[in-house]
């Protein structure tokens, strides 16, 4: 039954996700960052997999853009692994969305992730453990 519901929502017309991510190009370039077409595809596919894996149903898009906006100014984001870091953060976001004790809004969750990201100097096991244990 949950599968049926997921299909209903996944079949909805959504904005062109690729175009939405490409629109961020100017913003992230201010921080010396960029996303290739392959990396954009990786993020889109990764998001879908993360949603499925976390037992969630997507109502609307926009999370990847929000994560990029929120994290692109961090000193712990490296140009060389920008896309993989966003990929990991996306995964973490959906994991927490599904498992957090409190029902955080998307913005609240991203804000908490950003704070922890800065405190733990980027992605690490400690970063994930801290969020898992404290949310």
């Amino acid at each position: 039954m949950e599968k049926e519901l997921a299909n209903i929502f996944f079949s909805l017309d959504k904005k062109d996700e690729k175009k939405e991510l490409q629109k961020l190009e100017k913003t992230i370039s201010n921080f010396g960052l960029s996303l290739s077409n392959d990396e954009i595809k990786m993020l889109i596919d990764g998001r879908k997999t993360a949603i499925k894996k976390s037992g969630l149903i997507e109502i609307s898009g926009g999370v990847t853009e929000k994560i990029i906006y929120s994290f692109c100014d961090s000193p712990y984001i490296l140009k060389t692994d920008f896309a993989t870091t966003i990929f990991e953060l996306q995964d973490t976001f959906y994991y927490l969305k599904s498992n957090a004790k409190y029902d955080y809004t998307d913005d609240e969750l991203i804000e908490k992730m950003k704070t922890a990201f800065e405190e733990f100097s980027g992605l690490s096991n400690a970063f994930l453990d801290f969020l898992t244990e404290n949310l």
Binding site: E2, E4, I8, S60, Y94, S98
Partner: protein, 299 residues
């Protein structure tokens, strides 16, 4: 997916919908409505929600829609489902008002015997009107109902319908327990259960059973006592009659019991009759094998 809802989800719809056209129209309109309800629940703050939450909203929406169509079947092919949903909500709000009316009766007739589960459940029932989120989870009961009834409500019945049914039965059981001398009931409860105060047991059960047994024997129900001699006489009656005849005897006894207890409304009489009918397999088996000592209690 045409008959998906009807075949897998709906308790009521099976009795409401008739033609394939109706089923198909229903599914199409319903999925669109459920999608809107889930989106509304998520609002702008959540781009995703747990699949199980979505499923609960889906079921809650179905309950509201069914509530509307139970009395408006003729509108299935005509009405916009958002309107049907809003009308269903109005019906549920009326049901909540009726529930409050029943709750008041239940509170006033509350029995004087202390049983943890009874007291806790009665307390929880008073919280329900404030906790019941019928806009999204109308099929749910938002509080624990642990106290067992002598004759349980069908678990296919959901939400406010279940809880109203439960309350009606509690009121009948309160009335039955309160109809007897407190000291006599106390002695029967002490004999029936090791610790009636703390066990999850139905307090009306031994009273209804013994009273029914006494009615089978045409004896005075007030004493609530069924000793060995009376049990043997009941066993003789059971063994001497066919199943059909015995069920008839039980039915008549339940009817007479209702009269003795000043129970005159059809619903309450039917409850006693259902209880009596439900008792038949137990008493017939015990009469043949171990005796009726486990069913009818000696004070």
């Amino acid at each position: 997916m045409d008959n998906f809802l009807i075949e897998n989800n709906s308790f009521y719809l099976k009795n409401i919908l008739l033609s394939d056209e109706e089923k198909s129209t229903f599914n199409e309109k319903f999925f669109a409505l459920a999608k809107r309800r889930i989106e509304l629940f998520a609002s702008l703050d959540h781009s995703s929600i747990k699949a199980e939450t979505a499923k609960e909203i889906f079921d809650g929406t179905l309950f509201v829609i069914e509530t509307y169509f139970q009395s408006n079947k003729e509108n299935i092919l005509k009405i916009d489902f958002s309107t049907a949903f809003n009308e269903g909500i109005k019906i549920i709000e009326k049901k909540i008002e009726y529930y409050k009316f029943l709750l008041d009766i239940a509170e006033k007739s509350k029995i004087k015997f202390q049983n943890y589960y009874y007291l806790q459940t009665m307390k929880n029932l008073t919280l329900l009107p404030n906790l019941y989120d019928y806009n999204y989870f109308a099929n749910k009961i938002p509080c624990d109902i642990d106290y067992q009834l002598a004759f349980s409500v069908d678990e296919k019945i959901l939400g406010i319908d279940y809880i109203t049914e439960y309350l009606k039965r509690i009121i009948i059981e309160n009335k039955i327990i309160n109809s007897f001398d407190k000291k006599t009931v106390f002695c029967l409860l002490k004999k029936s259960f090791v610790d009636y105060k703390n066990l999850c047991v139905n307090l009306a059960y031994p009273i209804m059973t013994n009273a029914l047994g006494l009615k089978i024997l045409n004896e005075d129900i007030k004493e609530l006592n069924i000793n060995k001699e009376k049990r043997e006489r009941i066993a003789e009656i059971i063994n001497a009659n066919s199943e059909e005849k015995m069920k008839k005897i039980l039915d008549n006894s339940a009817n007479e019991l209702a009269f003795d207890l000043n129970i005159f409304d059809d619903y309450s009489k039917e409850y006693l009759k259902s209880f009596a009918k439900n008792l038949y397999p137990y008493i017939s088996l015990s009469a043949f094998s171990s005796g009726l000592g486990r069913i009818f209690t000696k004070i």
